[in-house]
Amino acid sequence: MITKFWLPISVILIIILIWELSATFFAIPDWILPAPTVIFAEAVSSWPNYQHHIFATIHLTIYGFVLGLMIGLIIAITLHLIPRLREALYPLLIMSQNIPIIVLAPLLVIWFGFGITPKLLIIILVCFFPIAVATIDGLKQTNPELIHYMKMAGATKKQIFIKLELPHALPSIFSGLKISATYSVMGAVISEWLGANQGIGVYMTLASSSFRTDRVFVAILFIMILCLLFFGIIIGLEKMLIKWRKDGNE
């Protein structure tokens, strides 16, 4: 348990140490690659100047993620309940993920303006897919023995879905959620590049165009922290809801 926790931490610390030493040793200019200490100092001293950007991004991410989650689940459940529809729409679902967001983003602005709509659409687009695919797979992989039992016991289709298939798919849904949670932060930052007045994406664009590389790294640092935070929340929820799996391994 202790090694499991310390192993990744020490790897990160070693990388930061090498980075710090080489930045000083090779005298790399700050606008190319600032040393970790410089980034850290900037992160601490300018906190009042940029903190509102972070909260704006958190807001946007949560909105987008919740919408993406709902849409992903609705799509998955609909396609599961109507197999013909699944056959018809599954390829379309996959193709939706082949559209480069960078290309799509400006188009969405043309169609929907600079408001919150195109931003939410981008987050939804990156979020719904992992959830939908994981849920569809989870529902499809329901143990046939249990389905057979439910049918013999006289369960209706609705009962089979609610009492058996949905709880059976829960672990899969959570794997989808974990991927989406991290994607949603990226989606939010990208959507902010489109033209927002606040958010980490805005802060990042401003920083890079004025060669404040240290601030770019501060932005990256906070994106990572947010990703880990959302990931952690999902894992916490998973542990709360799926107790049986852990016990089952004993």
């Binding site: 249990l146 013999m152 006289g154 009492k163 107790k243 089952g248």
Partner: protein, 247 residues
């Protein structure tokens, strides 16, 4: 309470005739075993009773009510325990009842205690042994509102010792509750030990080729299986089954 009557039941898949004119009856409070070699269409019979298939011909009635092709008329216990891994033992045993009415948890707890699972009501199935899981599955079928229970080779996946324990346990519970039972098995000794009547199924197409009334008094004990009378019945069934194979 419950009388199951199957008359003239026929079913074929494509050109494969699985059942041909099958007749059988399970009387109120009676324990009837269907004994036959693997592939004799035993599962098909259950699927028909459970309403998963509709027969080509014939009729299934429960208490003189036609239940042909109707789901949920019988209580069912499958070969594998089929407990839901995310439900505790208590939540699992009320599942079948939950499908039709509000579950009676107090009754379920009492029943689990009698099944020796009192300490395990809040455990998950993965934490139980194979025998305990089967007991939970049987309790679930007893708690189901239907009074006719169909058991599909419930002990075939257990080792010999657990199997004997389970048979004794099943008999003790059954003798208290006396539900009507249709029991499918391919184990001769099990069929004789448990049943009031044993029906021997012929293979492809399946039909009842011999009916044997088991005369032993209840409650039965394990030593019964070694008495000359018991062995005599076993021998005669064995020869009948051998006869099927030799055809």
């Amino acid at each position: 309470m419950s009388t199951l009557q199957i008359s003239q039941l026929s079913k074929s898949f494509n050109s494969d005739i699985i059942l041909d004119q099958l007749n059988l009856k399970v009387n109120e409070g009676e324990f009837v075993s269907l004994l036959g070699p693997s592939g004799s269409g035993k599962s098909t019979i259950f699927h028909l009773i459970g309403g998963l298939y509709t027969p080509d011909n014939g009729k299934i009635t429960l208490n003189e009510k036609d239940i042909t092709g109707q789901k949920g008329s019988i209580s069912y216990m499958p070969q594998s325990p089929s407990l839901f891994p995310w439900r505790t033992v208590l939540e699992n045993v009320v599942l079948a009842q939950e499908l039709f009415e509000k579950p009676d948890k107090q009754k379920a707890i009492k029943m689990l205690e009698r099944a020796g699972l009192g300490e395990y009501i809040n455990r998950y199935p993965a934490q139980l042994s194979g025998g305990m899981r089967q007991r939970a599955a049987f309790v679930r079928s007893l708690l189901s509102p239907q009074s006719m229970i169909c058991l599909d080779e419930p002990f075939s996946a257990l080792d010999e010792f657990t199997r004997l324990d389970m048979q004794k346990w099943l008999l003790s519970i059954w003798e208290e509750e006396r539900p009507s039972v249709l029991f499918v098995t391919h184990n001769i000794e099990e069929a004789i030990y448990l049943s009031d009547r044993v029906l021997i199924l012929g293979v492809r197409p399946a039909s009842v080729i011999q009916e044997i009334t088991i005369p032993f008094e209840r409650p039965r004990t394990e030593s019964l299986t070694l008495t000359p009378d018991f062995l005599q019945i076993k021998k005669s069934i064995f020869q009948t089954l051998r006869g099927i194979d030799n055809d």
